[in-house]
Symmetry: C2
Subunit: 137 residues, 2 copies
DNA sequence: CTATTTGCAAACCCTTTGCAAAAAT
DNA sequence: ATTTTTGCAAAGGGTTTGCAAATAG
């Protein structure tokens, strides 16, 4: 996927640091900020953590990146080029992407009634207490 | 609702500080930690913020309280005595409880397939970019 | 040429920790 | 009597900010 048009669309400058962040997020590995930082430093040893944070805030504000609370001390990052759901294990922090199903769109309609229209973006996070990754339980 | 049996069940001691926290959360006002702290101090001026945090961690770990990420700098707290969904406005942080609908249970079944069973608790957070509380769309 | 972005260091939260005294069972 | 909880103060950890230099368009 070519991410540059999405940056242009938002009047954001195409810097190598920013591209590096987006390319890593585009692997759909859901890194935490520090995992992302370490990953970028492999290709970009001089990058500052502040730059990573500043970019993430811009990318979140413009809707290209979504931050998912894992109920651990660190949240995880996901590129958000199309609506999808997240499934998080509260115990181990494991995170999966999931496409919305028809039943979720039905849920969305309910929501739209409840908040009186205008849902521009919709994210469903399903949190479970434990999952197969946990081993224990 | 009598919350004491729920504490006993979990072998948690019934202290006035803890009861004060639970009583406030039981109003379903979804306070942030500092809002909760200020509220408790009305009845309990000597309480320490550390006590509030320690209690919240215990209550979250034992499943009586749920912490909802609002995508603002502060998350919000909810008593969690029965499964329900949360709707959060990312822009203004407004938060609503919502009962699960059948369509969400269908979604839950999908999830159970995907993570191979054993969902012990299930939370759905629907995040919208703006809601009627925002005024500015 | 102008506006944005970067990088550094310091500041800023919010949250946790250690420990002794107090309270609950 | 034993275990948990409280409260204080200090430490911790993640995130933001201010500003000058560098870079993108």
């Amino acid at each position: 996927m070519d991410l540059i048009p999405h940056l242009r669309e938002r009047r954001l400058k195409v810097t190598p640091q920013r591209m590096s962040i987006l390319k890593i997020l585009n692997r759909h590995i859901h890194p935490s900020v520090d995992e992302l930082y370490e990953e970028i430093r492999k290709d970009f040893p001089s990058i500052s953590l502040a730059t990573v944070y500043k970019n993430l805030n811009i990318l979140k504000d413009t809707g290209m990146v979504f931050e998912i609370n894992t109920h651990t001390n660190k949240s995880k990052l996901d590129i958000y080029m199309h609506p999808h759901a997240h499934i998080v294990c509260k115990k181990c922090g494991a995170l999966f992407d999931m496409d919305f199903t028809d039943s979720v769109y039905a849920y969305k309609k309910e929501l739209e009634k409840k908040i009186a229209g205008k849902i521009t973006k919709f994210d469903v996070t399903a949190t479970v207490d434990s999952c197969e990754n946990c081993k224990i339980v």
